[in-house]
Every structure is written in structure tokens, then in C-alpha cells.
Amino acid sequence: MKARVTITLKSGVLDPQGKAIEGALSDLGFSGVVSARQGKIIDLELQSSDEEAARAEVHKMCEDLLANTVVERYDIAIVS
């Protein structure tokens, strides 16, 4: 089973890298960008074939290591 974890900064947390991307897009003439936020994706391949168990396990991985919940939020998708 494969899981995809998407980690982004919580809303309200300043994302300087996102701001830099916004600036660069604007410089390139993309004038319609209201905001850009940068995050990261972690793809996991799991032994489990039980979706609920896999989701619970990945949730714990996020809390314990993958995300810093002081400033980040995460989203788990079971891909296959």
C-alpha cells in the first residue's frame, strides 16, 4: 500500500519561501497570483494491506516525526 503525506505550513504562519516564489512569478509577468505557499510531499510504501491500519500508522508517523505541528499541518492520502 502506498501513502502520500502532504505537509504545508499552517495558515497564518509566514512562508518566506512562498513569498519569494510569489515575487518571482510576478517578475515573470504572472500578475494573477494571489499567494504561493511551499510545502513538501513524502511518499511512503507500506507493508500493510489494511487501509485503516495504514492510515493510523501514518498519522502517528506525522505526529512523531514527519510534521512539526507547531508550524505545519499534514494531509494523508492512501494512494493504492
Binding site: 509566514l14 518566506p16 507547531v70
Partner: protein, 219 residues
């Protein structure tokens, strides 16, 4: 004062830390590898600067989950002193021994220069300074932008746990916070490098009283 300096793959200030401790009057300093599960009998554990595990995932994230960090947490819980500098501060927040998080500098650049700081509080790490004193320590970091939720910042300020504050807007840190202590006051994390401000050839010698403070607190 007996000290242990934790060494991760990618630490690079451990020898500076060891030297500063020795110059301040430390009697023994052990370099302890991150895979150790216990610490020698020490008064101070220092988590030094560097780029532990290449700062992969987040600065300090992998190091904070090292086997040795459980022993460091136990040492802190027993009231032992813990000092995290730069990457060490990041490790301590990731290990949840200190609140908040250190994010990418607001200006996105790596900042490497001496900075002016105010010593905001007197305590075991700052007893040898006049409270309110201005000191100069070098900084060398890319992720020093201290963030915490509003309530945590209010608590840190209200409880006198902001120990060092930048005298200028440096990296985006909320309230220009440069260093904080835990609730009990025995764990300090700061981004600037006091261990690189202890000898005549350094930009200043203002870091020496910090180490002498710990030596005095342990006497």
C-alpha cells in the same frame, strides 16, 4: 563542572563548545556520539551547532529522535542543565524540550556575522551578566526565525523565559527572540554562538560569562 557535548553526524561546533567549557573552568568534557543511550555523570549537556543529519526533513528533526536524546531528556527532567546553541536549539525544540519552532530566516539568506543581544533575564546561564547588558555574539544560521503560537509567546514573555533578545530585527523571530528557557529554567536554547565569543581573537569575549555562569551554578 562536568559536561557532555552531543555529537551528531554533521555537528561542527562540538570542539568549540568543548574549548569554551574548558576555558570557563569546566573540569571534564565528554564528546558523546548520538547513538549512545546513556550519558556520563555530568552537570551540563551541550547540544552544539552544525547541520545534524544535513538538516534533512527539518533542521534538527532527525537528530531530535536520536537514541541519545532520550538520555538528554532524562537529564533535563532531573534538573540537569542543557544548553542548545544554533542547530542545538533547533534540536531542543524538535525534541520538545523547548517550545516553538525555528523556521527559515524571513529574508531567506544565511546570516553569518556578529549581532548585538540584550541579556533579558538573570538565571543559571546568565548569572555572571548584568541584567539588561548588551552583548555581542556571532550568528551563523539559515533557520533562526523563532515562531510559536500567540499563547506560547505570551507565556514565554510573561514568565521571563526570553533570556536573549536581538537588538535589531535579524531573521523574522517573533519579538526578536534569540534565546529561551524551559519552564524550570534549566534548559536554554539560543541561535547565536556564545562559544565563538570567548577568546581575544573572536569578535568579542562576551560569551565567556555564559559558560562561567554555568560553572558557578554547578559549584
Amino acid at each position: 563542572m562536568r559536561a557532555a557535548v552531543i555529537v551528531f553526524p554533521g555537528s561542527n561546533r562540538e570542539r568549540d563548545a568543548e574549548r569554551a567549557i574548558t576555558l570557563a573552568g569546566g573540569t571534564e568534557t565528554h564528546l558523546v556520539w548520538h547513538t549512545e543511550t546513556s550519558l556520563p555523570a555530568v552537570d551540563l549537556v551541550m547540544v552544539p551547532g552544525g547541520f545534524a543529519h544535513g538538516d534533512y526533513l527539518r533542521a534538527g528533526a532527525i537528530a531530535a529522535r536520536s537514541p541519545v536524546m532520550r538520555a538528554v531528556a532524562d537529564h533535563a527532567a532531573r534538573g540537569g542543565y542543557v544548553l542548545g546553541v544554533c542547530n542545538g536549539f533547533q534540536v531542543l525544540t524538535e525534541a520538545r524540550l523547548l517550545p516553538g519552532a525555528l523556521m527559515r530566516n524571513a529574508g531567506l539568506t544565511f546570516i553569518c556575522r556578529p549581532v548585538h543581544l540584550a541579556v533579558e533575564q538573570s538565571g543559571p546561564f546568565t548569572g555572571a551578566y548584568e541584567t539588561g547588558a548588551e552583548v555581542t555574539f556571532p550568528v551563523a544560521h539559515h533557520d533562526g526565525n523563532f515562531r510559536a503560537d500567540e499563547e506560547t509567546v505570551k507565556r514565554l514573555e510573561g514568565e521571563g523565559r526570553v533570556i536573549f533578545r536581538y537588538r535589531e530585527a535579524l531573521n523574522g523571530s517573533v519579538n526578536d527572540i534569540a534565546g529561551i528557557a524551559n519552564e524550570a529554567g534549566n534548559v536554554l536554547g539560543l541561535m547565536p554562538h556564545p562559544e565563538n565569543a570567548v577568546e581575544p581573537l573572536h569578535a568579542s569575549e562576551d560569551g565567556m560569562p555564559l559558560f562561567k555562569s554555568i560553572v558557578a551554578a554547578c559549584a
